[in-house]
């Protein structure tokens, strides 16, 4: 009896299941995502308060929790300072030119007055105090 040959015309089976409950996925759950860790490292660099040091010195003190989550701190800082989340770097300007666009978009990148108004509004609204962002030092207190 000849061995059964795979049917070349058979429709390719595609796994549409969303949950990934296999061993590899379990390993993934325990592994650290480097890009995620980098975001926290970036947040630590722009935060004056050193939670880890405080935990060493005062182990019974409740950890301080900022209104701005660590993971969002870097992008919020750019938002406070530029008025937008992403800067227009030289690389981006070059790419824009290659796409037949003005190297600098007509956003607040080109009109810093609007970003300044936004910064003042943020201060007026008390957001700086809520998230403890020091506009002079350009860091979060907490």
């Amino acid at each position: 009896m000849s061995e059964k040959q795979p049917d070349k015309n058979a429709k390719k089976q595609i796994d549409f299941t969303i949950r990934t409950e296999n061993a590899a996925a379990s390993n993934a759950e325990s592994a650290s995502m480097k890009s995620w860790v980098r975001l926290f490292d970036a947040a630590k660099k722009i935060t004056s308060h050193k939670q880890e040091e405080e935990e060493q010195r005062y182990p019974w003190r409740r950890p301080f929790s900022s209104a701005a989550p660590d993971v969002a701190k870097p992008s919020l800082k750019r938002d406070f300072e530029l008025g937008l989340v992403y800067p227009i770097t030289d690389e981006v300007s070059g790419a824009r030119k290659a796409c037949n666009l003005d190297p600098m978009p007509p956003t607040a990148h080109q009109f810093p007055d609007q970003a300044e108004k936004k910064r003042k509004l943020i201060q007026d609204l008390g957001v700086g105090e809520i998230v403890t962002f020091d506009t002079q030092k350009r860091v979060y207190d907490y």
Partner: protein
Amino acid sequence: MITEGYGNMTTNVSTGKSSEKYGYFLGCVMPAKMPWAEKSTMIVAKHLGLDFDYMKETLCCVRPGPWKTIDPDAWLTLTGQNLALAERQNVTLVDTCNGCWQTHYEVAEELREEPEKMEMVQRYLDKYGLKYSGKGKVRHFLQVLYEDVGIDTIKSKVTRPLNIKVMRHVGCHARKLGNDVMPRYFDEILKATGAEIIDTPLDLMCCGLLVFFADPKISIYRNVFKKFKVAQDLGVDAIVLICSGCYDQFERGVKILNDEGDPTGQLKDFDIPMVHLSELLALSFGYKPEDFGMDVFRTTSTSNLIAKVMEGK
């Protein structure tokens, strides 16, 4: 403009003429990461005869995720700054990003419905010479294309039908007005280019952008990588989207895959291009890829897609 009913939704169907002056709100991601989408959107709008130009001096929309959590009044006021700029420039604010559109749409609605909030926003803006009356209009680019230009006009402009297979990603916030509105517009416009849409059960699944800030593993491994894997298994030529926020998340997914691999083992190499709906429209209207830099600054290469479209096979 004719009004038609679809189920319990009401949509406006174009008679093919629009005299509105549109201001394109770029947001954060479009000018910094998707210049090819920005350029092709401008090309398409002009080709369709719209009075369409940039809205100037714009800021972040602002993102409801972090801002509403920090202070809802700040979210209303800072979004009000953009809405006031649109009124001052006398334009209908047009978003291509679903997230920006939802922010502008929701804040405009909330301020119209709550006079006390409107008064608060006006008080803050007035201090800096900005006025917002609530009269300005907010539109998604899909609404402009489908409701103001009309699908028949779009079809009539197609000179190079695209012989490609694509997977669609409309994005969650485009569903705010129901599946019969923007998701249907997206599909019909995409089909007008000649592209064949391959339906998948994951079409409705979120890109995972907001989840990333709470649980990056679910966001990347179970949302982005799963979508990429299905696209790969289906052998599509491209994933088509319109939302800059979704693109930002997919780009993050590709970078993570390239830098760290996929510990779930579902995805190895991924090279399917993620393209904007406007790019396919521009190509179908006869524009060349180099007119809008289709091969520039891409997360995944568009070379195979461009070759296929230009060969016309």
